[in-house]
Every structure is written in C-alpha cells, then in structure tokens.
Symmetry: C2
Subunit: 723 residues, 2 copies
Amino acid sequence: MKNTKFFTLGLLLAGSTLAAPLAAKEGMFTPDQLQEISQELSEVGLEIDPDALADLTGFPMGAVVSLGGCSASFVSPEGLVVTNHHCARGSVQYNSTAENNYLENGFLAASKAEELPAAPGSRIYVTTEVTDVTEQVRQGTESLEPLERYELVEQRRKDIIAGCEETAGYRCQVASFYGGEQYKLIKRLEVRDVRIVYAPADSIGKYGGDIDNWQWPSHTGDFAFYRAYVAPDGSAADFDEANVPYQPEHHLKVSASGLRDGDFVMAAGYPGSTSRYTLLAEVENTFNWTYPTFQTLLTDWIATIEATAPEGSDARVKYESRLAGLNNFEKNLRGQIDGARRVGLVDRRRAREAALADWIAADASRAAYGVAIEELADLSEESAAASRTSFWYRNVSRPSLFSAARRLYRLSKERQKPNAERESGYQERDMTFFRQGLQALDRRFDPAVDKAEWVLFLTGYIGQPIGERVAAFDQALGLTAETTAEELPDLVDRFYANTTLGNVETRLALMDATTEQLEASEDPFMQLAVAMYDYGFQLETESKTRSGRSLALRPTYMEAITQWQRENGTLTYPDANSTLRVTFGNVLGGSPRDGMAYLPFTTLEGITDKDTGEDPFNSPSELLERIEAKDYGRYALEEIGSVPVNFLSDLDSTGGNSGSATLNSRAELVGLLFDGTFESVNSDWDFDPRTTRTIHVDTRYMLWVMDKVDGAQALIDEMDVVE
Amino acid sequence: MKNTKFFTLGLLLAGSTLAAPLAAKEGMFTPDQLQEISQELSEVGLEIDPDALADLTGFPMGAVVSLGGCSASFVSPEGLVVTNHHCARGSVQYNSTAENNYLENGFLAASKAEELPAAPGSRIYVTTEVTDVTEQVRQGTESLEPLERYELVEQRRKDIIAGCEETAGYRCQVASFYGGEQYKLIKRLEVRDVRIVYAPADSIGKYGGDIDNWQWPSHTGDFAFYRAYVAPDGSAADFDEANVPYQPEHHLKVSASGLRDGDFVMAAGYPGSTSRYTLLAEVENTFNWTYPTFQTLLTDWIATIEATAPEGSDARVKYESRLAGLNNFEKNLRGQIDGARRVGLVDRRRAREAALADWIAADASRAAYGVAIEELADLSEESAAASRTSFWYRNVSRPSLFSAARRLYRLSKERQKPNAERESGYQERDMTFFRQGLQALDRRFDPAVDKAEWVLFLTGYIGQPIGERVAAFDQALGLTAETTAEELPDLVDRFYANTTLGNVETRLALMDATTEQLEASEDPFMQLAVAMYDYGFQLETESKTRSGRSLALRPTYMEAITQWQRENGTLTYPDANSTLRVTFGNVLGGSPRDGMAYLPFTTLEGITDKDTGEDPFNSPSELLERIEAKDYGRYALEEIGSVPVNFLSDLDSTGGNSGSATLNSRAELVGLLFDGTFESVNSDWDFDPRTTRTIHVDTRYMLWVMDKVDGAQALIDEMDVVE
C-alpha cells in the first residue's frame, strides 16, 4: 500500500465507494464502536480495558497521531514520534546533499540540537477533541433540492471548521461517516515544527524497494523517527530554535519481546479511503471499465515519460518520483483487477445486494429502504456513466501548467466571495498549501515531458466520437473531427512556446491577480483555463448535484446495511475516511494462492539470502556481518531461530494506515504497519479473509538495527522498552 | 526443467561437469547401485524387494523406456506408453491442421486404427541388455599420449556399438560413468513406429505455459500417451499399417488413490547431464563468467529476433520455438546465477575441495589422488580458459547455413574413411538423423533473422582485441581491426545474397558431394566452411587432447571422491549421462525463500483461481464446470479436499527426466515427473536439499481429466488402474 504513493495517486483516479463486511477480522472500527464489541475484544485476547480504547485523549489512543496521509505514534515523553521510513523519507531527502547523502547513509541526530527540520509542509496532528455534529450539519437538509442540500451541508461544515479553528494552532475537520449519516468535528493540535531524528539508510528502510512493494516475503526496515516541537508555552509554532519538544500526555511502550504466531494484535491509525459499501453498478464500472482502461493508459503513460526523459537525463530526475508512483499505481491496478477476478468480486457484490433485497422484502416495514436503494442504484449508474464520459476530458486536463492556471483562475473567482463562503481548498486556511503546491511544481516539471504526456492524453481524447467530446475544449485547442494524432504535437506547441507559467515567481504573483486581469492574460494556458471554466463549473455542479442526491439516499442505505448486519451478528463500521480507526486480529500467515503459503515472520537470514549488493538489495555490510555472526541480542524469536524482520497479520488496513502503531494485547508497540500483500490490494472493495494480509515491521528488528547496526542507543534509552 | 527445451538449449552452451553429494535425498543412482542401499530403501518405505530394481528387464524397470531426450513408461500390455505432454507435443503439432487443431482441441484416437504417426524421428527405446565393457574400452589406454588415448577409447566405443547393432532393430550406446572410470554397453530395441494415442488440449497439458515453467505452484496436466508398434513378428519396423502393438514384458499399474504428504516416492528415468563433481575452476568460470556473459548475450539475442521478426510476421512463426527456447534458457540461467549466489555455490565447492584435500593429506597412501586432482585442477583451468577464448568464435559459428555447410564438408571428409573409423555423428548409423537435421532447417530459418543474429554475434566477436580473434575467420570475412559494428550488415550481405544452401534439395544433394566438389563450390557459406576447417579441426584436436588427459585423471579423482564419501557413509553415484537412473525420496513441500512455503499439492480449485480465459490460463469450460460442480469422482485427496493436480517431492532430477514414471512404495505409477522449481535450477551443480524440489503431475489428475473431461474411458480400461 505504501500510502504516500497510494494517496497521491489515488487522486489520479476519481472513484466512489462501498462493500461486503461479512467475515472474521474485517473492520476498521471507530474507537467509540469498540465499546460495542468489548466482550469480543477481551475474548480474543485484549488485556487492557476495551473501553479505554474509546477515549481518544487517554491511553493508548492519545499516543496515536496523524502526519496527514500517514499514521504515527508518540514513543517518548519528549515528543518522539515513530512512523514508517517511507512516510518520513521526503524529509530525509529534503536534508540530503551530495556531501551528506542521508538517503544513502541514513541520518541519526547525535543530540536534539542536531535534529533537522522536516520537509516543508510536514505536520503532526494530535487529536484533542471529537464532537458529534450530525444534527448541526444535517438538520433540515432532507427537504431541499439536491444541489442546495449539498451546498448547505458544505457551508455548515466550513462554518463549524471556522469556529473550531478560532483557537490558534489547531486544525479542524468535519468528517462524514456512513455516506453522510453521521458527521464528527475532529479538533487537532497542528504541530508545525517537525524535525527528523533518525532514519536508517535506504538500504535498510527501503530494502526491497519497488520490487518488494506489496509483496510478501518482505524484509523492509520501514521505520523512522520524528520529534514534535512547540513554542515554550506549549502552543503550536513554526520552526524556531527556541522551540521545545512537545510533551504528549501519553506515549506507547515499545516491546522488545514482541509477538508469536497467532498472537492478538491491533493497529490504530488513519486509513484513507475504502469502498466496502459501493453498489454493484459502481463496482462493475470500476472493474470492467475504469481500472482496465486506466491500466492501459498508465502503461502508455509510463512508456511516454521513459521515452521523453531517458535514463540519466535531467528531466528524468524530475520525473523519477512520478514514474515510481505510476508504476506503483499500475501494479496496484493489476493486483486489484486480478484479485477481483480471483475472488469473484462482481458476483459477490451482486449476491450481497440480492441478499439485502431479500431481507428488505421479508418485512413490509423495510419498504423505504428498498426505495432508497433503488434510487441509489440509479444514481450509481449515472455516476458510472458520468465518469466514463468525462474520463478523457479529465485526462487532458492533467498537464501541470493548465492545472495551475485553472486553480489560479478559480482562486480569483473564489476571492470575490467572503472567505467563509469560498469553496473548500480556496479559503484563507488553505493558502499555505496552495502556495506550496505552486512552488513544488518546478521540481516535477519539464516542458518536453509535460507536452508528450498531453499529446498522449489528447490522442486518447480525439479517439472518441466527436459527439462525446467537449465542444469548448475542441474549439479552444482547434481540434476538429479530422484532427489526427500526428498533428497534435504541432497543435500544442504554442502553449509551451508562449506560456510564462513555467516561472514560479509568475505563478505565485498570479495568486493576487483579479479575475479580470487573468481573463486579459495572453498566456495560452490561462486562456484555456478561462475558456474551460464554464464547462468545468458545469461538471462540478453536476457532480455536486449527484452528491446532494446521495446525501439523501446513502444514509438510508447505510441504515439498512447496519440493521441487516446487526441481525446477522455483525457490527457495521463506516468506510475509511482518514479518521482514527482501530482494527484487531492476529499474527497470521496464509495461503495466498493454491499450493503456496506465507509464513507469518521473515528473518534476518532472509535479508542475507536476498542480498545481491545492488539496489534495492544492498544491505550495509555491518548489518550483514551482524547477521552472519548471529548477533541477535535479546531480539530473537525462538520459534524462528532468528530476529523477526517483518510479520503478517489479518488486520484490515489500507493506504493512510502506513506508520500505524501495531499493538499487542497490553497496548505495547510491537510493530509498524507498512504494507499489504499483493493479494490484498483489492480489499478496499471487498475484504476477503482468506487472502487479505497486512505487513508490519517488527519492533524487534527496529530495535536490533538501532542497537546493533546504527548505534541509536540514546533513542532506545529515551523510549520505554519493555520485555 | 521441461527437458525437451532444456536439452536442445543445453547444447547451445558447451559446458563440462562434476558436484557435492553430501545431503539427504540427493542421488541419481544407477539401478545396480540400489542393491547397496537396499536396507535404506526398505527403511524409508519401499515395499517391493529393492533388488528387483536392479533388474533392468524385470519389473518394474522393464516398463521404463526412453524417448531420446524424455523418459516414459509402458502402462498396458498393448504397448501404451505414458509420458509428458511437452514430450509428445511435437507429434500433436505435426498432425495438426487448421481444420483439425489438435494442439487447441486435444487429440484422442477413438480406436487403435485412428492413432496417428508421431513426428518423424520419434522413437521409443526399450532397454534389453546392459553389459559392463570397462575393460574392453580402457585396457592399455593409461600409457598412451592424451590424444591417442582419447581416440582409442572412442574407436573402441564405436566398434562395440557396431557389433551390438548387428542385431537389426536395435540401437546401442557405450555410456561413460564417473568421468571414464566405467563404461557400459546399453542395448535397446528401437521402436520406430510410434503413434500418438491421446494428448489433452494445450489448455490442459500446457496450462500455465512459459509463465508457470519452473514455477510452483503449477497446475499443468503434463501427460500424453503414445503407443509402440512393431512388425507382426515383434521386430522394430518403420510405420506400416500391418504393424501391431508392441507387447512389453512389463507395464506399470496406475494408482487412482495416489499419495499423501510425506509418502515415499521414487522416479525412474533418463536424466541428461549434471555437473555435481566439477572442480572449483570450472564452477568459478561458469558462474562468474560464462553464465553472466551468456545471459547478457541471450537478452540481446532475444531482442534481435523480436525486432527482426515482429509479432504476426511469417518469420516470427519460424522463430517462435527458438524464442521460447531462448527465453526459457535465459530464465534458467538467471535462476542458476541467482541460486548459486543464494546457496554460496562457489564457496561450497571450495570448501568441499578443501575437505577432500584434508582427507587425502591425512593418509600418505592417498598421495596419488592428490597428484591426480592437482593435474585435473590445472586441466579445469585450461578448459575454462579455452571456453572463454573460444566463446565468441563459437557464437559466430551459429548461423544455420554456415553450420550446415560445415557439417556437409565434414561429412565429405569423413566419408573418405571406412565407416567404422568415422567420427561419431558421421557414420552410416547417423545418416537418418543427419538428413532430418538438414530437412528441418527450413522450418526454423529466415535469412533476415539469421543475418541479424549473425551481425549480433559478430559485433561481440569484433569487440575482442585483435590478438584474441581468429585470423582465418577475420580473413575469410574481410574483418580488420578497424571494422566497426555498423559495417557488419554490408559485410555479410553477400553470404545471404549468393548462397544456395537455403534450398533443402541443394543441401540434401550435397550429402553425396566429394570434398573436392565442395572445395570448388562458389557458395559463400561453403567457402567459409572450407576456409575454417583447419581451425575447427585444431580446436577439436585441442579439446580431444584435454579429454584424453581427463580420461586418465578423472577416474582417479572419482575414486578418491567415492572412497572419501564411503567413509562418510555416502554412496557416490555417477553424474547423469542419459542412462536409466533411480532417485527416491518423499512427497514434500518446502520453504524456497524466507517467509514463504510451498505446499506439497495443488488442487483443482487452483486451476479456477488462475484461469483468466486467456492463453496460457484458458482451461476448457467443461473442465471448469466439473471443478465448480466438485465432481471429484474417486480421485480426491481428503487432506486437501480436492483432486490433487501437481505435487512436489525432494527427488533428484534434471532435464531428460521429463516424463519419468513416479512410483509409490509398491512401484505403482502415481505421477509423471515434469519440472523443477525455480530454486532448483542450479541443482545440476549442487543439490541443496533445502530448496531442490521436483514437480510431478498426479495420476489422480490425469485420470480425472481422462474420466471427467476428455472421455478417455477406453484408455482407463486398457490400463491396470488400482486403488
């Protein structure tokens, strides 16, 4: 899953959501739900009071934090935070130079004074309060027209957030659960002074690289440490030498004796998005059309970048990260398509809908559910059709400078409204990230590659019948029914020849431009953005209208699901939405394919077996020597005769869970969740207990590396390491 | 391993041989050796009398036959022979037409009258007599000079064969064991009227195709049936409608109840070649130089063919089989290089040699061993150096027509000698295969591809320093130190423009040409062959001289190995040499890599899981329906809740073992050996009991397909199927 990648790229492909929770360990529960299954938790081995898990500011949940896209947790009273290496790697890269190549050599601050600022935009979010605001958001919205409903709900969410953020240093969100059945205000301290404390070398933290991504057996030391800093008065503040380590109310103890096969484990983190309750129409559209179509496009896209930015070129450096992301996404889609075929996802969804329909039909008092579901099914069909028709238009809208122009022009429009009424993403609270986005563009942009990508997308676009194309776009680009793919490069040349948006100062300056100024711009990308504004607005309005309809229907559908499942003895959990969730289960291997088995642990010796001396299998020689010497220290697991490196569990996780604290029955840290097996990538749609397995780095390996290889004894001493 | 491929391609890469037999189930024993370990065989579970296995014409060995490159066995009193699908597939292809596509649909003769002739050259060899001829071959050779020794040994082998083949219908060989320590004359009835009886469709018999080749878990129905026909008087004869089924003295019973995890199994077949006793110098040269160099060349070679014969072209059809073979070989080399690194092959060999040296040093009476081994080590160094220096010359000698010209010119030279004195391969007994070789060339030859290949090899060749190149070859081609790769295509153009060897009639006619006629030929390939004859003869003489030295040294080395191992309680077996061998062990899964396990059986449901509907995962719908219906009949294995498809064992096997009868403790047929796991491909050099696993198709799956899918009830009835 490697959620930073997963997240960024998830956005590439707009997709909605829903699926079948009828199995053993499935469930990304909100902490307050755990009280409902406290008896089950105790029965399966939880030793602490299950009710304690519901208290987000108590122990252990108070120690669990979000990095925005990744999960993490406090492991010392001095604000030390542990997360995945791949979640903190950007900060290591940010501080690396040719002389001090921390990616290659690792980074370990000798003292707090030598801890380095994390990459710009790095945050640690500490939840301080969660309030149910369902009534405030939904009250009186049922009777409205869909678009009005959508807009009123959004306005109320923004208003509630604005009120919450009046306390300086906090960042708030109003999260929607069960498709709009429930809303919660989550208030979080926004730590802005984040520093990198320790990250092992890529040859440990990224061992196996893309080859082992989504693969078991893995041997990745996917851990790294940040520290949260605040102003001396304890308030959130920008980086300042006078800042002091944040003192969390709670932190996790770190286990050095760890787990055995079959042991109880749970993970607490911020899973991003799942589609467990999606209706059949959307599942069919996704797996029969969107994913295969997009996978083909991704393959062409990767080839286009590789051809335009050859290995070793300056352009390639700028696109390495995108290429890795696209390859990662392509592999993910392949896994999803393959997994869906294997488990019979579409048929299973069809069967579930039929079973739900039977349950509804069995009792006349449930008739309203049936009506809502029927309307929601129609809506799903419409959404699927809309996503198919807009597929190529969304792709031709990707080029970096066109996208920047669109956002700038939209900003000028939104600026005409009072801040509180502006579209989310264009409010004053969003401007820091908006500016950073415009700045970061340079590092990932090369005109020749951008143009080649655009030509690729345009080739797909003009491949559509003229009637399915967007007239305004054709006109703006001078495309006709006769335009051939060969003419496209010349057609778009003028955009790259005449634009000034490639200059970062120009882009930033345009954040203050008025709508009229932008409409008078001679920049071809800005002219295109202006020309397409109405069409974009129309697409957005149609989408909002569908969302407004969904807001009226989906809560009813989820109520039906919830009641139906309750009668079947299953507690319904909401789809993942980047809020704190708890999943529990066991250390468990599995049989991903007929004739094969995954063992629950990998060992130090497996690292040596894989090592070729070449990236990504190039362990530091010191590490290989310690393995050769069987210098296991106190970290060995007797059953496997070695130090466990990674382990498998049947926990329910997805992108965003990366870095999640994996806890044992006493809520001690035993690992960090960092990946899922290849057979699990379609679990976002359908949790199959036979094949879904989550991958963790074992704290025994983390401590072993710190102790025996990297000499990070001071950090070990700072943590509460328990046997 | 897929031995037909393996074999053809093994020849691409000249290589010598020898390795470490110090582990559990290792051992390709000659049947007569089994008496020495009869107690062990009984202890591990063999229920029949172990001594019976030593009788090659008794039961069960009398039922085991060779197809020349594959193994097989009689399974009915009417000459019915079972082997691998991939061993008989050429015959299915030979009989296929656009109207009757037996590859796609499978072939099942409704009656004996409808059985079709196998592909030309198909043979079934039934061993009738084995005689030790060591004394006859070796007597008085010790005192000779190396080249004389080599030639006398070869002449004696040819003479013994000639004497043996005076009985019409028999084919004889004098096989060398333990590097020339022992020679055996093997007399075999050569059944020339071979007919194809039944082969399932490719979508069963080749299920998984190249993707699953050398891979576990596999689900390949790799079985097919031939029938041996002889003249009414029982003698071997060419195809004739009057011929009758051969009545073997023995045939195997076929088990329908099969095996369970851990059960005793043994396999009897004709493994081609292993290198278990090779000295360190050769192992180092092979794994540090030859294999990596050749793997790189293979990659370029594959790319060259793919570029010159694009998919869908007529040329591609001719090269499909070579491409599959090269890809197969490349994958094999990668596996070997990877496996050697993983098990530390070079270090292990070094350690074994050191241990042997210690044993020799421990007793002055063993001094002669030490001397011989030292000389053999020098010889290995020399052989390794010779193989490096001739690497590119051997490659530039590959082009089909150059190779044909060389063989024809050599034939004209050999024809000047009495038949008995001719080089092996050029005697009258070899002419049928010689002619077939010249005929078959057309089906795998396209001038443009052949030329592109030649240019590729020549590019490598001219990349060498001029001093390491072959002067005569440079002169014949007009290559100088200044020749660049760009000039090569033009340089070789005249060969393809002016040759007449592309014509099959011309080639065949030249089999009768005299040396003088060929020397007067204006064909550029023939002129090149004539020009290079002396150099080729020199290479051959040097090689024979080294072989002659080896013949004096290697038997002493093997005697040292044998004595040393005997003291360690290990019975030394000879390297594989395409003679009948027996290997025994157990049904056994394994852990090929840290964190992963292979289960011993695959199941019918695994076929459905893999099935995508597209080649090579496109099972017949009838088969999928039978699985869906759980129509297991009497073929299910309770522990796995399904019919076992393929199974793993720790048997010791290699290319040539394909089609080997896998027998249970009562010598009933329980499977057919057809492949090894990817982690096993380097077992030819070093049998690692941790990772070496052999793959078999289970007779329960074979019978299930025959019974439930293909309606081959008549064949089931013809066999002795036992529970």
